[in-house]
Point group: C2
Amino acid sequence: MAEKTEKKELAILRLLQKANAPLASSRLTENLQAMGHEVSERTVRHYLLELDRRGLTSNLGKKGRSITVAGQMELDNARIFDKVGFLTAKIDQLTYRMSFDLHRRSGTVISNISLIPLSLLSRAVPMVCKVYAAGYSMGCMMALFAPGEQLGDMIIPENMAGLGTVCSITLNGVLLAHGIPTHASFGGLLELRDRKPVRFVEIIKYDGSSLVPLEIFIRSGMTDYLGAIKTGDGRIGVGFREMPADSRDGVLSLIQELEKVGLGAFLMVGWPGQPLLEIPVLEGQIGAVVIGGLNPVAVLEETGIRIQSQAMSGLVEYERLFHYRELEARAQALTR
Amino acid sequence: MAEKTEKKELAILRLLQKANAPLASSRLTENLQAMGHEVSERTVRHYLLELDRRGLTSNLGKKGRSITVAGQMELDNARIFDKVGFLTAKIDQLTYRMSFDLHRRSGTVISNISLIPLSLLSRAVPMVCKVYAAGYSMGCMMALFAPGEQLGDMIIPENMAGLGTVCSITLNGVLLAHGIPTHASFGGLLELRDRKPVRFVEIIKYDGSSLVPLEIFIRSGMTDYLGAIKTGDGRIGVGFREMPADSRDGVLSLIQELEKVGLGAFLMVGWPGQPLLEIPVLEGQIGAVVIGGLNPVAVLEETGIRIQSQAMSGLVEYERLFHYRELEARAQALTR
């Protein structure tokens, strides 16, 4: 009973967050019913009073209710178990929703966002560019968001900039659009020697964690981008993908096309049923190692610049992306 | 072929590490054959020459080979995919090997080890004791290891002390000894309000990660033991366990016995088939939340004292443990 109540309260909070505007109780009731919840408007009003009391919503009179900052935080923390499967579900959902057309070079790709204080931006730019230049990045394209701009649920706060890196899940979407189903199995920390992949040092499966694997490696200080850039010996974040064995030729030709549009990120493609970097691959499948999208900003943590990163934040138009070489000029324009 | 070779070389390194003394090639061959590897002594000698060449073993003449520091590091990093399942396997293996007898109060329990410079020990002791006093610990017993002492594969280095905390996997072993099979499903970060468990903030499954979940939360700076101690609002590391529903009464009475011997760590025991802190539990099972063994030392990271922790390091005699109130005096004796 208590759990049912919580589920409905969370459903209301999610609707208000999604709407990004006040909603009246009648409208909320309609939406809840459309989602399969059996509720009357009277019950919804009862829930709303309780949410007001807990400071999670605010009553704007005739306009309806809006979600408060406390309400947003409640949503972030709530129902953790949903979040474990949620990573895999979110990957599938964004893969389905993105619309990038490789040949027309238009449509949306999946973007991560990293918040950085405007005052630190000029210091950060050269480091970020070095990771792109060394090729430890998902292609060479990126985005820059100004204070007040929105990506997914995230609004860039005042005095902050949002560095947008292309999420490697975008590759799943491109392959899907060409009829190739892709399974993202785990995120790993990859050891490099002389710029070449040697082995996985750590592994975290996407369906076994509520945290994005690469975010864990970054926050725990386990990466070594500085070494990877300077000497070619280091540890970077990558993802492991599995595809049907028969699609291998198709995958290889798409990789070439992706590189042409600045979205090349495949580090290795294995052979049917053969282990890749010691990772077993099922008969009838091939394994592939793709570079983690957050790599170019992850290096900042190593140099003492604290950033706040969110993987798979939302969709961004390909036209909005630019070559990393333009980052310096664009950052200057933003901080001027 | 290359993979087979690597497996055998690693098997040799593991045997040398376990022996903790030089082994002759004849002895190594016997051991490898007993483990199911089909090798001749000639082949083993061939592998050893290759290992010598790579600096992973050193040739001590008639005494045989011993493993080098480089060899130990190679073992740590090698065959990462084994390490994912390895966590679950290690839990089962230690559960099987420990010999603690609850009624006789003797035998071995499973211990974590945290290395701390001797010079920082006196600063660390009060913080560690506060976590025990607040009850955010696996019971009230602990161990202290002097430089040169060994626990499992770990030898305490010079100028360091080893803080031994009882690993909560010990509970699995006690339940097993009373015929109750226990499954360790995930490690979680638990939010407390007013000292009471509210919900899981993050979850990492034991069979989906090469890293111990609690070690991740500690290293990423996601814990809040200081808050938990001071105000009762914080985030601590816990584990989730599943047991047969019919064993519930047995579990509850064992919990009482465990508390009497200073090994009480059950925070919550659920009802058959009922979710516990929103975590679904299968019909015919009960869920339980146990306190993470590393909690008392994890607080040190929050106060800027860097420690190096290894969960599930090895087995230690129950007689070797002491009440945390003795820690101060014992630490003084060690640093004098």
